[in-house]
């Protein structure tokens, strides 16, 4: 049985911003094909009228009051940045 849909690995890797080698593509496509094939059995479950479960418990309105608190000093905020200049993060030129 091979009802699992074909995984367009190029398209999905593009969405996920992952550069994959041809070897990785072939391997992942095969491995994930197996996994997806397994997952196909979810289609057998009758979910008519069943609410999706997004959270473990139905709790609403979890918020905080609008009170500003101190943040990170700029040096600490950028401490892990691979490249910085003028207290900003440097990235290759973005063409909008």
């Amino acid at each position: 049985m091979s009802s699992a849909p074909q995984l367009d690995i190029d398209h999905v890797a593009h969405l996920a911003r992952l550069a994959l080698t041809p070897e990785e593509k072939a391997k992942f496509a095969q491995q994930l094909g197996d996994v997806l094939h397994h997952i196909e059995q979810l289609k057998k479950v009758d979910v008519t009228g069943v609410e999706p479960m997004a959270h473990a418990a139905p709790v609403f309105n979890v918020w905080a009051d609008d009170v500003a608190q101190p943040g990170l000093p700029v040096e600490l905020a950028l401490k892990n940045a691979p490249a910085q200049r003028d207290h900003m993060v440097v990235v290759p030129k973005v063409v909008e």
Partner: protein, 484 residues
């Protein structure tokens, strides 16, 4: 063949809160780069969002002001896409359950003349949802610099139905929407600070057609006049393409307000696939009647409602109402002065003309004005009672604006009071004096300035010496001038 344009606007409005949408570091504009960040803003590993209650209050209030249905339950979704200004590479937004649905924005189109009210329309809204703003990219010659100060600022997206047909309508829509947001205290809507941003979806179709044509998204309409110019330009561009026999393509175009041109943005991305799904880190929001009631009580009267009331209740001319109603503090100021003086139109005129002129010249905000509504009311009463004449009152106003002194005191100090109090009587005495001395009239008209003094003696005598010489002088000059 006749074409019509169909326009829908997507307006982003930053909500005015102290802290950010999903973390409590301060929100603000104009700070040093990356000084308004914390681990959540930077999307450091392990961080989680926490809703800002005030932002929820603000959007519900916005929804109530615009007559939206407030959803009893709304939730948060992740909109997944990669961009350097987006720290998490997903934006927390509301996809299929926004907090506000429907609603309308009332607009006024330009009237046939400046002093005549234009046609009113209501533009239907699709939805309003809440999300978080992204950071800011500063483009250099060879690289770009990212500042995350703006990232995470609460942002409302207000989506209209494709229900406008001209650039004027879009302009009026944005003007009205902006005033409503400012009125509600929801945002300052300063477009220069990016607090209000607008994208337009524009298509054309044959008149009578109900299907939408090929849609062009116009971006970067960064000022209200750019919105009008940009849309007008785009409609013309689309008509020109069609008239040339060309085909319109669905695309995003960038409008350059400086040059008045637009450019297609090459789509670097395959068709967007945002992979929305409910954010597991945030609980849904439930809005009950009590919450809505509490916010409804805080909702101000909207500008057009106020204008209708001013027209009716105070019998103000349209032009005056359109000066007074668009600024909530000015309208409130007027109403207080109107109430205190009992002469709404006179109070309105002083405010719309003299006060705004002086404030403009001095670059002062209304809140900083030393002239308070009580001053205006007192001045109106002085004029109305005849205690001072109009010209004197103008002088008093300028003095009052500078010092904040009461008009009565200024009039006394500067001898600007018309006495005796009966202006009519004084005028009569002046007329009598002029009529009695034709020679002096001729001399005065011939240019002999001192001839005027010949009239003053008899007037002062008739007034038993209690008349204000300055007022007598003014009155005589006016009467003499009126004689031609």
């Amino acid at each position: 063949m006749n074409y019509e344009a169909v326009i829908g606007l997507e307006v982003h409005v930053q909500v005015k809160t102290r802290s950010k949408m999903f973390t409590r570091v301060a929100a603000g504009y104009g700070h040093e780069p990356n000084t308004l960040t914390d681990p959540v803003v930077l999307a450091l590993p392990g961080t989680l969002p926490l809703m800002n209650k005030a932002a929820l209050d603000a959007i519900i209030k916005a929804g109530l002001l615009l007559g939206c249905e407030i959803a009893p339950v709304c939730k948060w979704d992740r909109k997944n896409y990669f961009y350097p200004d987006s720290p998490k590479n997903y934006q927390i937004s509301q996809y299929d359950q926004p907090i506000c649905l429907c609603g309308t924005v009332e607009i006024e189109l330009p009237g046939p003349a400046r002093n005549v009210m234009g046609e009113h329309k209501t533009i239907p809204l699709t939805r309003i949802h809440l999300e978080e703003d992204v950071g800011k990219l500063n483009h250099g010659a060879t690289d770009s610099l990212v500042d995350y100060n703006r990232a995470g600022t609460p942002l409302m997206e207000i989506v209209s139905e494709p229900a406008m047909h001209t650039a004027e309508e879009a302009y009026a829509y944005l003007t009205s929407l902006r005033a409503t947001m400012i009125y509600g205290g929801i945002s300052d809507c300063d477009m220069e600070k990016g607090q209000l941003r607008c994208d337009a979806n524009i298509s054309i179709r044959h008149v009578g057609e109900t299907k939408l044509g090929v849609k062009v998204e116009l971006k970067n309409l960064n000022s209200i006049s750019f919105v009008r110019d940009g849309i007008s330009h785009e409609i013309k561009r689309q008509l020109a393409v069609v008239e040339r026999g060309g085909t319109l393509v669905q695309e995003t175009r960038d409008y350059d307000g400086q040059t008045g041109t637009s450019q297609s943005l090459r789509s670097k991305e395959m068709a967007h696939d945002y992979r929305y799904f409910p954010d597991p880190d945030l609980m849904p929001v439930q809005v009950d009647e009590a919450w809505k009631q509490r916010l409804r009580a805080e909702c101000p009267e909207l500008p057009f409602d106020k204008q209708r009331r001013f027209l009716e209740q105070y019998q103000l001319p349209y032009t005056l109402t359109s000066v007074l109603v668009w600024d909530r503090t000015l309208a409130d100021y007027f109403e207080e002065a109107a109430k205190l003086s009992g002469k709404p139109q006179a109070a309105g005129n002083w405010i719309a003309n003299d006060l705004l002129r002086e404030l403009g010249a001095a670059h002062h905000a209304l809140a900083d004005s030393k002239v308070r509504p009580a001053h205006v009311a007192a001045l109106v009463q002085l004029v109305d009672s005849g205690a001072v004449l109009t010209n004197a009152a103008k002088e008093i106003f300028v003095e009052m604006f500078a010092t904040g002194e009461q008009p009565d005191a200024i009039a006394d100090r500067k001898g600007l009071k018309a006495a005796p109090t009966d202006v009519g009587e004084l005028e009569q005495w002046c007329c009598d004096a002029i009529a009695a001395n034709a020679k002096a009239v001729d001399e005065f008209k011939a240019g002999k300035e001192s001839a005027i003094n010949a009239f003053k003696g008899p007037v002062m005598k008739a007034a038993k010496g209690k008349a204000n010489p300055k007022v007598i002088d003014e009155t005589l000059r006016r009467l003499l001038a009126a004689q031609g």
